[in-house]
């Protein structure tokens, strides 16, 4: 037992020292905790290395010890995984919902749901008509049936103004997770792709669209290796419809911040 206390004391000192050094360097607390825990794990490992030999247990005792050990392992795995930061699926569900919206609507399930929604609206209308017929009389009924249907679709949003296009473009930026590789407005990007704040000055909307549809069509200056490796996926033309791609290109084309050094695109195709 003395061995365990001694090793734990060393672990606490080492862990505390590491945490203190990390703290002095403004390393976030979660990392300090990580270093501290690893030091304590080290203390346990070294306590085990120098521990007395465990004697052979009889059958019953072995069974009990194994059961306790199993409970310990299960608890550590479940608790350990829960202790780490958890991704909120609701964030992704909203994104995936938008990405699959069109496909879901086109599917039989989507069509059924749309039919049900329309039927619900019509059901209410029929109820209202029946109520009015009872109270007013047949003459007005015909006129009522010719009233504008509640189920008639409003004007298509596709014909909206530039604001809508920009909104769709920004939404596509988020949905296609372009931010994972490109920095824009100081956010996202891990140096895998060029910063795009000045892309509107360097490329036209059509050229941006071409680059998204065919990543090999342009190469950002200084990104030869990435271009050769084909780091930018050649899949966006299959994931976005032409309107969405145009919206994304239009939105990106509006970024003309000359203060940012967006690398010059070189035409390759």
């Amino acid at each position: 037992m003395w061995n365990l206390f001694k090793k734990l004391a060393v672990g606490l000192v080492v862990g505390g020292g590491l945490a203190a050094i990390a703290n002095s360097q403004e390393v976030p607390v979660s990392f300090q905790l990580l270093f501290f825990i690893i030091a304590l794990v080290g203390a346990v490992v070294f306590a085990l290395l120098d521990a007395k030999t465990l004697n052979v247990m009889n059958g019953g005792m072995s069974f009990f010890a194994v059961t306790v050990f199993w409970v310990f392992l299960i608890s550590v795995c479940v608790a350990g995984a829960s202790f780490l930061p958890q991704f909120d699926p609701e964030d992704e569900k909203a994104k995936i919902g938008k990405l699959l919206d069109k496909e879901r609507k086109q599917s039989a399930q989507g069509k059924t749901e749309e039919l049900i929604a329309r039927a619900k609206a019509l059901d209410q209308q029929v109820k209202a008509l029946e109520d009015r017929l009872k109270g007013i009389g047949g003459g007005q009924a015909v006129a009522m049936t010719q009233a504008p249907s509640a189920t008639e679709k409003p004007a298509a949003s596709g014909g909206g103004g530039a604001g809508d296009i920009m909104k769709v473009g920004e939404e596509q930026w988020q949905l296609q997770e372009c931010y994972n590789c490109h920095k824009l407005r100081g956010e996202g990007g891990k140096k895998r792709g060029p910063e795009l704040d000045n892309i509107g000055t360097l490329l036209t909307v059509e050229e941006i669209q071409q680059k998204i549809a065919d990543p090999k069509s342009f190469m950002a200056e200084g990104y030869d290796k990435e271009w050769q490796k084909g780091i930018m996926p050649d899949k966006f033309k299959d994931l976005m419809d032409p309107k969405e791609m145009l919206a994304l290109a239009t939105w990106l084309g509006s970024f003309k911040n000359v203060a940012v050094n967006t690398p010059k695109p070189i035409k390759k195709k």
Partner: protein, 592 residues
């Protein structure tokens, strides 16, 4: 769905077509329309059931996707064992034949008996997997089977039947083909392994296809697939790396599970001889497992490399976004696995008489200490696949073994192993240091990020260096152990009883890691059944939390190990009991 809604729906369709009439007409025909609409609704239901992502069933509590996941993962675990164990078994049998050591032969036969029982479980879970998949995702399953019709209907069943025949023949010819005929039996084992390998490669075709279906620049995936041959579909980009990763994984897994069986049998042993034998079995099983484990990080890296090369968006999804904490957990578990392996090695050295006198050149601990920073520098300067990194690292890692004899200063084995543990802990710390402790790296606040000057710790070169160092320390310990064996005497059966818990721990950890990485591979498809080809339109197509996944992975692990334990008790215990009981003289029976 109520009949009223259906009827109104049908009414609406008529109205939309311009069949306008009086409300009276509408009201009077409502009942008739309801009947028609019900029929129409039933028709819709049929279509609904066949739609990708929709399902006529809803598995209680877990939901459809988790139900498929549980059964698939269980099937993979059993399959991994029955494909990995024969490799382990035939190596063991061959060693026994070559060394004329009957213990190897006994171990091989015992593991084969367990394998045969688990073979049935593999078939059961495989059948269950297909049923659950068909029930949960009928249309996708049908189209998927159609894509690989020849594989699922001809090649795979034929190989499975061949494997069944060979496996039973292998077990039942054990006592017949011995002595001079032993070579014939080993050849049968090799043949069995060839079929097992073929099965693995064949079934990995459809599996990897779901992650990386074949594609070509400038052609839509659908168009390319329409023109693709069966071979194009099988030999997709992640097929070969996945198969390699699974081969060494299965060997390691088979070894760890055999080690756990040995631990249980050691605990239940009544005699010194039995204890000595199962101590030995645990030792051999673990070292075969370690052989596979040492390769695993590298074949795993190759698989990840190919996946990222196929579609770079896999990389941030794994390392920086939704799955980043899954990989944090993987780092924790692999770190613990390596600590466990080396602790077992330490306990093994402790029971060797004369191990205290074992020494090694001072170059070994020097390389152990400097390897991590040097590898980080090399990897940062010449990243994979630049061969310059190997030009630096190979001579460095080989130097203690090649140049050690020319350096007169030596260090005791115990000291080197302890230094190794410190370095392993530091390597674990490097491996576990992410760019930030956040669930996704997309919108990470600055206060959660590693500050500049520390951020190199979260880079891929740092992670790879940590893995490389863990592997190297384990190899050094293995070399030291071998020296101890040569210079000292092993007291079989005298190992610290704690070693049995280490064996159980290693089996649990390796099974858990397999479960975790199985989930990761499947989740990489994101919201697709087949990546970028067939969308999963169900409400369950999202990345679950690590906590949720860990709960199920643990449950799967516990169930699998419980079944293996029961199988081991059924297959091995009777033979142990039988071996202890002398046959005795036949009792005379009076003749009528």
């Amino acid at each position: 769905m109520s009949h009223r809604l259906l009827s109104v729906g049908f009414f609406y369709i008529h109205k939309d077509r311009g069949h306008r009439g009086t409300v009276k007409t509408h009201s009077s025909s409502l009942l008739a329309l309801a009947l028609l609409a019900l029929l129409c609704g039933l028709g819709i239901s049929d279509v609904f059931a066949q739609e990708a992502g929709t399902s006529p069933v809803d598995f209680p509590y877990a939901g459809n996707r988790t139900a498929v996941w549980i059964v698939a993962q269980l099937h993979i675990l059993f399959a991994a064992f029955i494909l990995g164990a024969p490799i382990f078994v035939v190596i063991s049998e061959w060693l026994g034949y070559r060394k004329q050591d009957p213990r190897y032969d006994r171990m091989a036969k015992e593991v084969t008996k367990v394998t045969v029982i688990l073979f049935s479980m593999t078939a059961v879970t495989g059948g269950l997997f297909i049923f659950v998949l068909l029930a949960a995702y009928p249309q996708f399953t049908t189209s998927f089977i159609n894509q690989f019709y020849v594989v699922f209907a001809i090649i795979y069943p034929a190989l499975f039947i061949a494997e069944t025949i060979l496996m039973y023949a292998y077990l039942y010819t054990w006592d017949i083909w011995k002595g001079e005929k032993k070579g014939r039996h080993i050849a049968l084992g090799v043949l069995l392994n060839l079929v097992c390998l073929l099965i693995l490669f064949v079934i990995n075709g459809p599996t990897s296809f779901m992650n990386t279906p074949p594609k070509a620049e400038g052609v839509s995936p659908q168009d390319f697939l329409a023109a693709a041959t069966l071979w194009d579909k099988i030999a997709n980009q992640s097929w070969f790396p996945l198969s390699l990763h699974r081969i060494d994984g299965n060997v390691a897994f088979g070894g760890f599970i055999a080690g756990m069986i040995a631990a249980y049998m050691y605990m239940a042993a009544k005699t010194k001889e039995e204890r000595a034998y199962y101590d030995w079995m645990g030792f051999v099983a673990i070292w075969i497992a370690v052989g596979g484990s040492l390769l695993q990080p590298f074949t795993g890296l190759l698989l990840a490399y190919e996946m990222c090369d196929y579609d770079f968006s896999f990389c941030p999804y794994m390392m920086a976004d939704q799955l980043s904490m899954f990989f944090e957990m993987q780092g924790i578990m692999i770190g613990l696995l390596f600590l466990g392996i080396n602790y077992y090695s330490w306990l093994s050295v402790k029971r060797i008489e004369g191990a205290d006198n074992v020494r090694i050149s001072v170059l070994a601990p020097i390389v152990v200490v400097i390897l991590l920073p040097v590898t980080m520098w090399v990897m940062n300067s010449w990243w994979i696949p630049d061969p310059m990194s190997l030009a630096f690292l190979l001579p460095l890692t080989m130097s203690p073994f090649l140049l050690g004899r020319f350096v007169p200063v030596t260090v005791s084995a115990r000291t080197v192993i302890k230094i190794g543990f410190i370095i392993m802990l530091i390597s674990d710390a490097v491996w576990l240091t992410p760019a930030g402790f956040v669930a996704t790296g997309t919108d990470m606040p600055d206060e959660m990020k590693l500050p500049e000057g520390w951020d190199y710790l979260s880079s891929m070169p740092a992670k790879l260096s940590a893995i490389f160092t863990l592997v190297f320390v384990t190899i050094v310990n293995f070399v030291l152990y071998n020296r101890a064996i040569k210079q000292g005497t092993i007291l079989w059966g005298k190992i610290d009883f704690a070693a049995q818990f280490v064996l159980i721990f290693l089996a649990f950890t390796s099974t858990w890691i397999m479960g975790l990485m199985g989930a990761v591979r499947s989740l990489l498809k994101k919201y697709f059944h087949t990546y970028s080809l067939v969308s999963d339109l169900s409400a369950e197509s999202f990345t679950p939390t690590l906590s949720y996944s860990a709960g199920w992975i643990t449950a799967i692990t516990v169930f699998f190990i419980a079944v293996v334990t029961v199988a081991a008790l059924i297959a091995i215990r009777p033979s142990v009991v039988q071996a202890k009981e002398p046959e005795g003289n036949p009792v005379p029976v009076p003749v009528k």
